[in-house]
Amino acid sequence: MKLELGYIPIRDIQFSSTSKVDGELLYVNKQELIDLLLQDEAIATVEVDIARPGESVRITPVKDVIEPRVKVSGTGGLFPGWCAKVDTVGSGRTNVLKGAAVVTAGKIVGFQEGIIDMTGEGARYTPFSKLSNLVVIIEPKKDLAQHAYEKALRLAGLKAAEYLGKLAIDIEAKEVHTYETLPLIEGVKAYPDLPRVGYVLMLQSQGLLHDTYVYGVDAKQILPTLIGPTELMDGAIISGNCVSACDKNTTYHHLNNPVIEDLFSEHGKTLNFVGVIITNENVFLADKMRSSDRTAQLCEYLSLDGVIISQEGFGNPDTDLIMNCKKIEAKGIKTVIITDEYAGQDGASQSLADADAAANAVVTGGNANEVIHLPAMDRIIGSIDAVDHIAGGWSGSLNPDGTITAELQVITGATNELGFNHLSAR
């Protein structure tokens, strides 16, 4: 399976009468996009706004972030099972509007969403402050049940990203990156002397706002399985979750999974990157047992020498993480786990809800309880009302002058457990 990603750098987004990509500028016909999204009967109103790097803008409550992409050649289309029909993606050519993103916002449950600041202290912690963001704010029809509202907002984000991505179908890419995974036996023959490395990607699957979808299937329903790394780059996995905002994988993270990128960069040099095993983080013990058993068995079946395991979320999923680690290590396969920490505001508490001596190689995305101070912004996109109630805020987090004192948890993507950021703790 071989995929070429064509990068088209985007420097700015502007509203215009015609949607198009011109040089490094992305022009958007606002009304055309609003009309497209309003086709969903669940949606009452759509607002579209632009947030640029360095602007004094706060976006909240953030739901998802999605990178605009388009399939140029190869089977299937972007976001199979949602925007495109179900067909295997991950080969051929895909164009990417690099530097642009769709951000969805809307008050869903009241306390489950995140903050993206485009400047100041908060901007240091979120990767999305460096992007030109098209923000889509969706209000539902009256009395729409919360689960249905979440779904409508999720689909609106994907559709908006697809709409923007399609503008780049005929544009010549500035850079082309090629990723290839050989079939199992061919891989063994090509790299007989290199250690065989796999990636166990844990997907959040705990319920409303804690779901992830694979080719349209709710990840709660899957057994651990193999997926080609390039399939993720075409949107085979999308996010349906956001809380706590700091350590949930947005769709943008799935499209740009850094573990996959960094394993590919060593592929054929210091290691043989065999493939990705996806597993879930269900709430029932039987599911945890079953999924970690299957995951360890797949690792053994692939004759792996080493595995990187990435977590999503914290607390309850710490048990899935440790079960995966213990069972894979017990097969004689070396592991490194990527997690984040809840060590208390003072940093003095134990960081994880589960632990085992087998987890002797840990990468951390930082302590999500650490308190940060965010300056006031000139402009709010979305609604500031939820700040006291979102995970990481408290009564009084939002000060009358517009400044915010809260835990790092509130920042979208701040302690990402795919290792997307440079943040760590010691």
């Binding site: 449950v109 306390f111 919360q146 490395v197 705990q206 409303l208 706002l209 804690h210 809380v243 706590s244 850094p258 573990v259 960094d262 290691l271 020498d305 080493g306 595995v307 990187i308 607390g315 070396k334 592991t335 490194v336 920490e341 809840y342 060590a343 208390g344 505001q345 940093g347 003095a348 508490s349 134990q350 960081s351 994880l352 809800a353 632990a355 001596a357 190689a361 840990v362 990468v363 309880n369 109630h389 979102i390 995970a391 805020g393 408290w394 009564s395 835990e407 790092l408 948890q409 990402n416 457990e417 795919l418 290792g419 997307f420 950021n421 440079h422 943040l423 760590s424 703790a425 010691r426």
Partner: protein, 349 residues
Amino acid sequence: MKQLQVVHYLNQFFAQIGGEDKADIPPETKTGPVGPGMAFQAAFGQDANIVATIACGDSYFNENADTALTDILEKIASFKPDLVVCGPAFNAGRYGVACGAVASAVRDKLNIPAITGMYIENPGVDLYKSTVHIVSTKDSAAGMRDAVSQMVPLALKLARGEEIGSASEEGYIPMGIRKNFFDAKRGSRRAVDMLLRKMAGEPFETEFPMPDFDRVTPNAAIKDISKAKIALVTSGGIVPKGNPDHIESSSASKFGKYDIEGVSDLDAQTYETAHGGYDPVYANEDADRVLPVDILREFERQGKIGSLSRYFYSTVGNGTAVASAKKYAQAIGEELLADGVDAVILTST
């Protein structure tokens, strides 16, 4: 830069008063640097000046801990120093405990920066590593030169209120305090590098050493549940509608205590969840799903249990530090005992 004023704490041996035969001497003050203080003074150069040395016998300190410490603190405070250096104690156990206790008290009670040095196995390390910077030294005074060269730069930083780097950078024993920082490499790259080293059998350093977990042994089973007073305690965030105590949706700073006398069913009009870490829809529809008041009232009527305790306790487990949870559990446990509760049903989410 202003020259810092330093007081040095030593035991009877290093203060050149005597060996074990002098271990029972009470605290005394000497002017300027003494013994190892000479090496410290040389290393401080013009940056700092050791104005006095306080010496105390190891046996005296450990046998008269409270009075000795009070006496030493008074003597130190009289010099109004900017910094207090204790030891280093190497592997001397009683001396290590004294150095840790003095440094810790200077920091907490006098609000003056303090530093000490010890060998990793000194009993003073376990007692004081989380409260003071203890530089890791060799196990005997043969390591004095190294200890001084490690302690002096860190001591100056502490005294000047400068940012302190990680334990491995600065040479102190990890304090167990987690602090965020931006690494040169992103996390995924660090993971790949760590895995390559681990697979090759090369040394690697984990970013988070696994903690030791408390394991709680379950109490003996209740002999006759039909006579037992049962209480409900939850980390699932069930609160009266409106969340009157403002319990946070994550990283709870408190727990709530709520009266359910006369309540036989938690409904959507009167109860809800404050928890931000799970799908709240079903808990808000019927909070009995998390806190089963309805079924316990039924059991109470049927005589299956003795009674349901008048109050339930609730906090939010989501993102709440283990140390906070432990504190709430102790407070709740004391109240339950005082109320004569025989058994508790703990529900999570």
